[in-house]
Structures are given as C-alpha cells and as structure tokens.
Symmetry: C2
Subunit: 444 residues, 2 copies
C-alpha cells in the first residue's frame, strides 16, 4: 500500500518564502516579488534536490495585509512556470488553474504549451475557486458546489479531449515528401456540457509525456469525486498522521469508485520545516520571522487552547493555572499539537515559533527532525509524498536540499536522481493521452 520511496514537491509562491515575514528576512531582496530571476534560482535549487515538482497555488484576487506582508502568490503562475521551464531540466511544473474563471480551450492551450515548452513537465492543479474576492474580479459570485463541480468535470474532460486531439503519430514533419501532418489524425472533439463546450482540435501536438498531469487540492465529497476520476496527485492539508491516512484512504476509495487503480493517485501531505543547527537555532529563526505577526496571533492561539491570552504574556509560558484550565478547541485540528508544545513550558512566542498555527505541521530542529517526521508519516501510510513549504526560499531551499535530502537518501527513502525527464515519470503516473477511456460517462 505504500511505495518504497517518497516523492517530494515544493510549494512556490511570492518570491520570498511561505512565512509572512520572509520578504524582510536577512539576505532577502525585498524586490523579489517581481523578480523572475529569483523564482528561477529557487526552482534550480529545488531541482538540485531532485524535487519531483513545484506546486504553485493560485487564487484570483489580492489578499492579505499588504501593510506588513507580501502577497502569498506568484504574480501569475503560467508565466512564472514558463520562465522556470527555460531555466530547469527535470523538475515538474504544476500550476493551479481555475475551472470556473477560465474557458477550457484557453486552459488546455496554455497548459499544453507549457508542457511542450518544458518537454513534458507540466501539471494542472484543477480547482473550482471558492473565494468570493476571486469571483468579484470577474463580476460574479461563487456558485453552489453542484454547479461549480459540474463545470469542473466538463472543463477537465474538454481539456483532456483537446490534449488528445492530435493522435500521437499525426505530426509527420516529412520535409522531403512535403507532408507536415496527417489531417485525418487531427480531429475535432465536439464536446460540450451544461456550462462549457469546445469544438477543437487544439493546435498542439503531444509533449514528451503526452499531456499534462492533473493535480487536485482539497477535499469534500465533490472534491473527492473529482480527484478520484482525474487526479494523479492530490495536494492535502493535514495535521496528524491519522487525518492524513484517512484522507489518503478516502482518495484511494474515490479512485476505485472511478474504476482506477488507487496507486495511480498519490497523496501529498504538507510540511513546513523549521531547520537550524539546533532546536534553539531553529526556533530563533522562526521567532525572528514572527516579530511582526506573532502579537496579532496571540488571541487566536488562546481560542485554540480555550484561554483568554493577552499579548502582554508573549514572552512568558502558560501559568500552571492556565495549563489547568486549557480546553483545546475541537474546531481546529492543530489544537492538540499547540497544547503539547505549550505543556513543554515554552513561552507563547516560542509556542508560535513551533508553527502551531501555520498551515502545515512544522518539525523544529536540525535536519534530522524533519527527516524523521517525513519518515514517520511516510512509513505510517499517511502520504505518498510531501509538498514542502520553505519558510524563506533564499537560504531555506538550500538547507533542505543539503541537509534533509541526503538523510532521506541515506535511509533509502528518497530517489538519488530523477526517474526520467517527464513529470509523469517522476510521479509514477501512468501514461494518459486524451480522455481516460475508463471514465464511462464522458458527459459526466
């Protein structure tokens, strides 16, 4: 049920790193938000570490407190990955693309072009987009799930059909005979549903991996069905091994229900390591990064623990009375970990520096702590791999690559080199060209 080696992907965002204060960390150029050279350098660093892919989340609106924090996303994922495609050779390039706010023809064309440009390294994280601010940028509102997901099914199927609209041997390029292509092997798709339609064909021949790989993110019944039918990889957000195993199993079941082999869908758990030569150094790195943000997080930490916490207590641990009164919130899956750390006697600032309210589990300490975390989760069947959120890209990727990756390799848990030049190979995703013939109801 588990594979012999884990697969690693790396989250890529705003040019600084996944910690909100990364933009002002020592050694970071605060101009990197608009610097594509920086993104290419990060990608090259990740490629040195044999990461299978870069994962670029995307929303269609500007959010966050720009006064103190950088926007979290790349300026635009497709152009960012185009730049990276030109500066790398092996690493997979996975962009998030909305099925609601794009037309299938445009999505299919751009992802296939990226796939050709990168010689078979593109992936599409297909999301329906559920935030109202994104909808407002299109003069619209977020529709209910049934409509959003119906359109997502139609969009993915049309895109895949367009991807397959040149048969693999259609492009002859026979200069001597003057035959460019066999038009009989380049056919319209004429596929349509309730929301979207396309005639085809797409003007793009197959890439080295045939067509882009589908990713999905998130869950819920609708999301699971989507993942089960189309995804080769699912990007998860999970805080415990139990949660992760349950999500992974749910996805594998969804794949079975769609008539697929569950091994075809890899589940990726998130991780946001805090690495330093010692645990103290790793904590100090995060304490420094949290200088501006931690005070505002104290009340939320309090609510996770069922306590009224005040900023004034930032540099003191919980008192015995507070520890006696804690009631971890059942609404946040991170509460048990927050309590566990608080009970170790750390100050509130240090508790926060443990990443207890970050988006992913945060192993804190020397590289071996992160390696142990990944090994434990992987061996427990919690994930097929991990998507790694690096706190500050500028030095954090190199630290991970130079310190964590060799440990995983020594332990036989991580590949020594890429399996091949395509994302499909490095993900262990089976060949697919055009629609999956096992999907029996193409109109859904």
């Amino acid at each position: 049920m588990t594979h012999s080696q884990m697969i690693l992907g790396m989250q890529l965002g705003n040019g600084y790193g996944s910690q909100p204060a990364a933009w002002r960390a020592p050694g970071v150029d605060p101009s990197n938000y608009t610097d594509f050279d920086a993104q290419v350098r990060y990608a090259q660093a990740a490629e040195r570490g044999k990461f299978a892919f870069l994962f670029l989340p995307d929303f269609l609106a500007l959010s966050g407190n720009l006064d103190h924090e950088a926007p979290q996303l790349t300026l635009e994922p497709m152009l960012t990955l185009a730049a990276i495609a030109r500066g790398t050779q092996r690493i997979g390039l996975v962009a998030t693309g909305s099925t609601t706010f794009n037309e299938p023809y445009n999505l299919a064309r751009q992802f296939k072009a990226l796939d050709v440009m990168s010689h078979g390294r593109a992936g599409w994280n297909a999301v329906t987009t559920s935030d109202p601010a994104s909808a407002a940028n299109f003069g619209r509102q977020i529709a209910a799930r049934p409509q959003r997901y119906q359109r997502a099914h139609e969009t993915i199927q049309i895109a895949q059909a367009l991807w397959g609209s040149w048969q693999p041997d259609a492009w002859l390029k026979d200069a001597a005979a003057g035959r460019f292509a066999d038009p009989g092997k380049i056919q319209p798709i004429n596929l349509g549903g309730e929301h979207v339609a396309s005639q085809g064909p797409l003007p793009i021949p197959p890439s080295e991996q045939g067509q882009p790989v589908i990713f999905s993110a998130g869950g819920g019944d609708y999301g699971l069905e989507l993942a089960g039918r189309y995804a080769s990889a699912v990007i998860g957000a999970v805080f415990t091994i139990e949660d992760a195993r349950a999500q992974r199993e749910a996805i594998r079941d969804a794949a079975r229900r769609a008539g697929r082999n569950p091994e075809e869908v890899k589940f990726f758990a998130g991780v946001m390591p805090a690495i330093g030569p010692t645990k103290r150094a790793a904590l100090d790195r995060r304490v420094a990064l949290g200088e501006q943000t931690f005070p505002a997080r104290v009340p939320y930490l309090g609510s996770m623990l069922g306590l009224d916490l005040e900023v004034a207590q930032l540099d003191r641990p919980l008192s015995p009375a507070q520890l006696a009164a804690v009631r971890p919130s059942p609404f946040d899956p991170r509460s048990p970990r927050a309590l566990e750390v608080a009970r170790e006697g750390w100050t509130i600032r240090e508790v926060l520096a443990h990443g207890v309210i970050d988006y992913h589990p945060t192993p804190v300490g020397p590289a071996s702590v992160t390696a142990d975390h990944l090994q434990e989760w992987f061996e427990a069947g919690a994930a097929d791999g991990f998507w790694v959120s690096i706190d500050v890209y500028e030095d954090g990727i190199d630290t991970f690559v130079d310190e964590v990756v060799p440990l995983l390799q020594e332990r036989g848990l991580f590949h020594l080199d890429y399996e091949g030049p395509t994302l499909r190979e490095n993900l262990g995703a089976p060949a697919q060209y055009g629609l999956d013939p096992r999907l029996t109801d193409p109109a859904r």
Copy 2:
C-alpha cells in the same frame, strides 16, 4: 506629420517563417513548430537588428491545410513571449489577445506579468476575434460588431484600470520598517459594463514602463474608434501607398476625435521582403518556397486578372491575347500590382514568386530594393513604421538585419540603437498609467 525615423516590428509565428513552405526550406528543422529555443533565437536575431517589437498574431483555432503546411501561429503567444522575455533585453513583446474569449482580469494579469517579467516591454494587440472557428472552440458564435466592440471597450478599460490599481509609489518594500506596501495606495477599481466587470485590485505593481502598450489591428468604423481611443500602434494590412496614407489618416482622425494627439498612434504597414543577391536569386528563393503552393494559386491569380488561368501555364508568361484581355479585379487591392508584374513578361510561377497574392507588399531583389520600398512609403507619409514578415526565419531575419537595416541606418531612416529599455520608449508612446484621463466616458 511624419517622424524622422521609421520604427520596425517583426511578425512572429509558427517557428518557420511566414511563407507556407518555410517549414521544409533548406536548413530549417521541421520540428521547430514546438521548439521554443528556435523562437528565442529568432527574437535575438531581431533584437540584433534593433526591431522595436515582435508582433504575434493570434486566432483561437487551428486552421490551414496541415497536410502540406504548418499552422501559422505560435503554439501560444503568452508563453512564447515569456520564453523570449527571458532571452532578450530590449525588443518589445506584443501578443494578440481576444477581448471576446478572455476575461479582463485574466488578460490584465497575464499581460502585466509579462510586462514586469520583461522589464517594461509588453504590448497587447487587442482584437475582438471574428472567425467562427475560434468561437466554436468556446461553444459560442461570433456576435455582431456592436456587441463585440462594446465588450472590447469594457475589457480594455477594465484591464487598464486594473493595471493602474497600484499607485506608482504604493510598493514600499521597506524591510527595516517592516512596511511592504501602502494599502491605501492599492485600491479596488469596481468597474463594470454590460458584458464584463472586475473589482480589483490586481496583485501586480507597475513595470518599468508603467503598464503594457495597447496595439490594435484591422479597421472598419468600430475598429477605428477602438484604435483612436486606446491604441499606441495600429498594425495594418495595406498594398499601396495611397491605401496606407488613407488608413493612417483615418486612424489619426479617430485619435483626434478621442481627444488625443494623433502623434500618439503609430501606423505600421506590412512588408514581406524577398531578398537575394540579385533579383533572380530573390525570385528563385520564392519559387522554391512556392513549389507546393503555387499550382493551387493559379486559378485565384486568374480571377485577380479576370482571366481563366490553368496550372499547365505555370511556367509560361501570359500570352499577348491574355494580356489584351486582362480585367484586374476591383475586389482585390493586389490586382494592379499583379498586372504590373505580369506585363513585365514573367512566367506565372514567377509572377506568384513576386508575392502578388501574399499578405503584404513584397519588394523583390537585393536588400536595397526593400530599403527603397520602406523609404518610399515612409517618406510618402504612408506609415510610421513597418511590421516585417520574414519568409523563412532561420536565415531571413539575419539577412534583413545584416543587409537592410544598415542601409536604412546609413540613410538616417532607422535608429542606431534602442531609445531605451521599454517598449513605450522605443515606440515613442507617451507615458500612461491606469485609464487615460482624457477618455471622458469610462463606461463608454
């Protein structure tokens, strides 16, 4: 009314060249259709020749006779220009983008990202898309002009407003003070019309040229109004100096009506040079390229001349009887030139090799013939510059750069170097950031 020096742009398409048989010309790799390295090399060659911009036409459907000919367009213009942006320093990057089959937020975001990535070199050729095959790829039909152009006005205005949604000094990047940006200077736009709307802001600060430059292509009353209001450059298709002057004047008038200075809108005439050491060599180049396509063109040439021409006559000139019977078609502006060439006694194959039914005027002969053509048109006030269609990119760009460009420079007709790093500078387009305040009716 004319400027002292002409501006040159270069058409960029399918990786081979603008002649249908370029894909199988000697020295051309027939795989170039999917080769982004080739596109980058072509762009670098054009940049060596100080071309102000690359112009990428785009339609949203596959067309042409793929049996013998390559598709004419790049696989996808935005990703192609992203690749080129990474491999060039000065040349402008102008992609065609449809106002009908894209959402303004997506267009605005990708063009601005390209603009930032290229350090201020992006341009957007805003077209409404009028071919039914493109519409079918979106499950739609082509709407009537009033609707299409209403949506185009709304789309361009929303895009420009989004481009201006970060005030130029909004991005503080003050690491010491911990202030990333001044949120008061990053504002929603809340602009909407009958067809499209967006709330904003866009997550992208200004580029080195502020925001992308607007191009337009084509004419008609609706197209003229659009060009007059927004365009800094209009890409034309004209076959005579008289036509070109009339179109240029019409565009300048449209700019005046929109309250702008006509000097702000440059008109570009097309040219498709056939260059060889001698006229015979230039013709032979085109004869070889036309091997497969000329036979099929004979009947159309006949209809242009009012004659029933047969393929059997391909290697003979018009007979005296035919010459006496000619009646140049008033429906094709290229007929007079076709007749002029036929009267010189060339065989029908050679008449076709003169480019008389190509998309643009074709000066045939040594580089000086092309230089003379450009000089004549420019000095007659027919154009502010030219967009050059190179028959076979692989050697044709270098020939133009090495032979035509120096002649133009010697004659004082063409700049010796780029005016600056941005497209706006090299086009002589005035600064613009956000909406043009002179447009008094933002809802149209």
